[in-house]
Symmetry: C2
Subunit: 160 residues, 2 copies
């Protein structure tokens, strides 16, 4: 699934209706590479469809996830991020700006624990945490780099 055309098919297959709201959200989500939050999407959707509700955005995202059209990503920075790319890929998270970018990792799919052999693995996810080039650059230019905080701590601190 990638084209809006087959979106109708996917929805019908699930006994669901193809509403303007659903079409818009699906479209916005595929135009967006940033792994946005529901709120992010809501803002974008509102611009093109004034009156659309945040509730509908959440509902649609949940449906699409159920239909296997997208995945949720939780990096512990508050709101859930969503990802229209359900193919084989992984993520690099910048601990400074929170950006999540797609990355590919050779051999990731075949990684296995050296212990816990009695566990049926359905999925392997790799997450890299670090600093993106943009943040690294601005950081060198004398920004106040304080003592190291864990990614989570940082995420939580930035909420304030």
């Amino acid at each position: 699934m990638q084209s809006p055309a087959s979106l109708a098919v996917a929805y019908r297959a699930n006994g669901r209706k193809l509403t303007p709201q659903r079409q818009l959200i699906f479209q916005l989500m595929h135009e967006n590479e940033t792994h946005p939050t529901a709120e992010d999407l809501y803002a974008q959707a509102s611009a093109q469809m004034p009156g659309i509700s945040l509730r509908t955005v959440y509902q649609t995202l949940n449906e699409l996830a159920e239909m296997g059209e997208l995945q949720f990503i939780e990096i512990g920075s508050g709101a859930t991020r969503f990802d229209p790319n359900v193919g084989d890929h992984h993520h690099a998270v910048c601990d400074s700006c929170g950006q999540i970018r797609d990355v590919h990792v050779r051999g990731a799919a075949t990684l296995r624990p050296t212990d816990s052999t009695d566990f049926v693995i359905n999925e392997v996810g790799v997450v890299f945490r670090g600093i993106c080039s943009a943040c690294e650059t601005s950081r060198r230019k004398g920004s106040t780099q304080r003592g190291a905080k864990s990614p989570v701590q940082q995420a939580k601190a930035s909420k304030k």
Copy 2:
């Protein structure tokens, strides 16, 4: 840091006090292999120290994280789970019961994205999702296994 003895040192080093609450939480956390939530810990702590507040549990966990004594784990199932093990290890999450177990993965630390080379990596995390042996067993005994839901969907559904 592992022993309660050095806990005092760690706290002092940070200009902090060694309170009974902090000692208890630290102890409980090291006795616990389940990657419990703050609420889980609060329940355990309350048993031994009636009157301790949930607020204090959260506060202490945050402090310990800042001090590098523990890490937070977010698997998208609601509450944050905490992990007293800050050493090199990874996790296997059961999509059925939510259990998180520690696993080791050979070569995980040296994994690198094949793309995004302009990213300074501080940490590599691997998460396996699947079904634990306990769930797999009970599942075979005719339990009602419904259609596949994503891990997150399942986590959210189980909240209701």
